[in-house]
Symmetry: C2
Subunit: 346 residues, 2 copies
DNA sequence: CCGTTGATTGACAACGTTGTCTAGAGGCTA
DNA sequence: TAGCCTCTAGACAACGTTGTCAATCAACGG
C-alpha cells in the first residue's frame, strides 16, 4: 500500500527483465530474446504468449546490457562549440538526421571553445563507447585521441582540422570565401578595408585572414596594421575594434566581418556612424536580407557540412578503410547591398 | 605486420580491459577497479604500478559495463522539436550546462513535431536507461510513458504540458504574453488585429489564441473570423494568411504573429505592403532590433526554461517526491517600434 | 518401423565492470 | 606469545543481454 500503489504491482524503481518475462510466459530466456529482437524460429503461439507477458509487465529491453554484449552502441557523439550558436543548429540537425537513418542516437555537448573541456567531453564519449565521433575542435592537439581511434572509434572533424593527428575533416572553403568577400568590396571601389576576426588560434580565423591578405595583394593594395583585428567575438571587443579602425588616421571605408557574431555587432556599430560603411560578413544568418542595408555575406552551408561529415563517419563504420581525407565545402557570396556601398570620401 | 602496425601491439578494434591491466600490473581485478575509481585502500606503490599499466595499455573504463552494474547511466535525454530552431538553442545549452554540473551527459534528438517520432525517440532513450528525460512534446498523449516513470525515469516537460498523464512541466506564460502583445496594439489605436498562429493542436498556439481573444474582449472589440488563422508555420501558409487578412473587406491594421517563424515571414510580407502595418511577434530573435521598424516582441526566456526544467529533473533524481507541478516562466514585452505604428485609415 | 531432417527451444557462458566477502599481513595490547 | 584489530588485496558473483550449442520433437522417406 505504500509504494506499490502505482497501478502495477512491481516495486517502484525496479524494472522487469527478460528473465521475468520468461518466467511469466513459461518459456526460456533465449526465446524471449528472440521475440524481442524479431528473430526467426519462434512459433506464432509462443510468440503471442511472450508478447503478452512483455506488455503486461511493461518490459523494455535494457540496451546497456545489450551494448555490453554486442560491443556496438549504435550511438555517435557530436562535440561542438556552443549548442546555442545558430550556426551549429543546422549542422547538429543534419548530423542527427543521418544518425537516425542509420539507427543511431546522438549524444552531444558543447566545448565552450575550451580545449580541456573538449577533451573531457570526448573522452567521456569514448568511455561510453560511442561508435563514432563528429568533432568541431576547440583545441589544436588531438593526440589524446590516438588510442581511441586505434581502438576503432571512427572520428571526423568538422569546420576545423584535427591537430597533430591524421583524421578525416570536412571544412569550408574559408580562404576562398574570404578572398571573394574582400574582392567584392574592392570591386566596389574600396581600397582601405578592415578585417575583424576570431581568435588567431582558431583555424578558420587564420584561413579567413589569409584570404583577406590574398585579395588585397591580388589588387596591389597595401594593408595597414590597424586594419586587422583578431580576438574574442564578444560584443565589447568587436565594438572597440570596429570603432578604432573607423577612427584611425587612415580610416577604413569597408569592413569584412570574420563570422556571424562579429557581423551582428558590426552592423550595430556601423548603424551609429554618420557616413555609411560597406560591410561583408562571413556566415549567412536569418534576417540578413531584412536589415537595411541588407547584409552581403559569404554563406557557408552548415547542414551540408553536417551531412557530409556524418556520411563519412558512417562509411567508416561500414568498414571503408581509405586514408584520412579532407573534404572542402564551397562557400557562396550572397550580394545583398551592404557590400555595394561605395567608399565615402574621407 | 598486417593489422598490428599501428604503434601499439594490440589488435585493431579491441580494447584492453581491467583484466588486461590487472595481468600487466600483476594485481587483482578489484585493485584495478579501485585505482580507476579513486577508491581508498591501495598503497601508493601498487597504485603506481596500476597507473603505469593503464597508460601503457591505453586503457579506458568501459562505461557500458559500469552502467549495467551500477544501474545509473549518468545521462539524461532531451527531446525537442527541431535542433536547428534558434529558439531551442539556448534551451538546449542550458539543459546541457545543468547536466554537466551534475556529471551527466546529454543525449538528444528532434521529434520534427511528429508524435510517432517523439515516442520512438523517447522509448529509445528509455531503453538506454537514461536517468531522466526533458521533453518538449509533439504529441498530446503520453500514457506510453507511464511504465517508464513508474520504473523511475524522472520526466519533465517543457514549453508544452504532458498529455493525459501527471508530470512536471515548465511553461511560458503564453496566455499572459499574448494578451499583453494584443493589448499593446490596442493601446496604440488598433481595433482590427489579426492573429497568425501555429497548428491548433499545439498547446502554446491555443494559449496564445486565448490571450488574443482575452485582450480583444477586455477592450470590447469584436473579432472577425477572417482575422484569425492557425496552421503550419511554413512561409507559404503564413504569407497567404497574412495577405488574406490584409486584403479582406475589413482588413486588419495590425498583426500579432504567434511565434518566431511566423514573425519572420510576416515581416517580409508587411515590408511589401504599400502602407505600414503594425506587428508584434511572440518570441524574441536576434536582430529584431536592427530591422526597420524594429520588431516589438513578447520575449520568452528559453535559457531560463531549460535551466528550470533541468534543475527540477535533478531534484527529482535526488529523490524529492513532491507531487508533479507546473512552473510558469513569465514573458516580457519588448517595445521596439513595430507595435507603435498607428492604424492607417482604410 | 526406424533413421534422418528440419524446426523449435532452452541451458549456459560471456561481455566488463563493481559490491561483498574473506584471507592474509602487520602492528598493537595485555 | 596470544589475541585482536586494521589495512590491503583478491576471489567471486552479479548486472541483463546475446551467441553457441545441444536437446527435443514432429514429419518424412525408405
Amino acid at each position: 500500500m505504500t509504494d506499490t500503489a502505482r497501478g502495477t504491482s512491481r516495486r517502484y524503481g525496479t524494472r522487469p527483465t527478460m528473465k521475468d518475462v520468461a518466467a511469466r510466459a513459461g518459456v526460456g530466456l533465449k526465446t524471449v530474446s528472440r521475440v524481442v529482437n524479431g528473430e526467426p524460429g519462434v512459433t506464432p503461439d509462443t510468440e503471442r504468449r511472450v508478447q503478452e507477458a512483455i506488455t503486461s509487465l511493461g518490459f523494455r529491453r535494457n540496451d546497456s546490457a545489450r551494448i555490453l554484449r554486442k560491443g556496438r552502441t549504435a550511438s555517435i557523439g557530436l562535440v561542438l562549440e556552443d549548442l546555442a550558436d545558430p550556426f551549429y543548429g543546422p549542422l547538429n540537425r543534419a548530423v542527427e538526421e543521418v544518425a537516425r537513418r542509420h539507427g543511431a542516437l546522438l549524444i552531444n555537448g558543447s566545448s565552450a571553445e575550451d580545449p580541456a573541456r573538449e577533451q573531457e567531453l570526448v573522452l567521456a564519449l569514448c568511455a561510453r563507447r560511442v561508435d563514432g565521433l563528429v568533432i568541431i575542435p576547440a583545441g589544436d592537439d588531438h593526440r589524446y585521441l590516438e588510442p581511441e581511434i586505434t581502438a576503432g572509434i571512427a572520428t571526423v572533424f568538422v569546420d576545423r582540422p584535427a591537430g597533430r593527428i591524421e583524421a578525416d575533416a570536412v571544412l569550408s572553403d574559408n580562404f576562398g570565401g574570404a578572398r571573394d568577400a574582400v574582392a567584392h568590396l574592392i570591386a566596389h571601389g574600396h581600397r582601405r578595408i578592415g578585417f575583424i576576426g576570431d581568435q588567431p588560434r582558431i583555424h578558420t580565423a587564420r584561413e579567413r585572414l589569409r584570404g583577406y591578405h590574398s585579395a588585397m595583394a591580388a589588387a596591389g593594395l597595401p594593408v595597414d596594421d590597424s586594419w586587422v583585428s583578431l580576438g574574442s567575438t564578444a560584443p565589447d571587443r568587436v565594438r572597440a575594434a570596429t570603432t578604432t579602425m573607423l577612427d584611425a588616421p587612415t580610416p577604413v571605408t569597408a569592413v569584412f566581418a570574420g563570422n556571424n557574431r562579429v557581423t551582428v555587432t558590426a552592423v550595430r556599430v556601423l548603424r551609429e556612424r554618420p557616413r555609411p560603411v560597406a560591410l561583408v560578413g562571413f556566415d549567412d544568418f536569418e534576417l540578413a536580407d531584412l536589415v537595411r542595408p541588407a547584409i552581403t555575406v559569404v554563406a557557408q552551408d552548415p547542414a551540408h557540412m553536417g551531412r557530409t561529415a556524418a556520411g563519412l563517419l558512417f562509411r567508416r563504420l561500414d568498414g571503408i578503410e581509405d586514408p584520412p581525407r579532407s573534404t572542402e565545402i564551397p562557400t557562396r557570396l550572397i550580394a545583398r547591398g551592404s557590400g555595394e556601398i561605395p567608399p565615402s570620401e574621407s
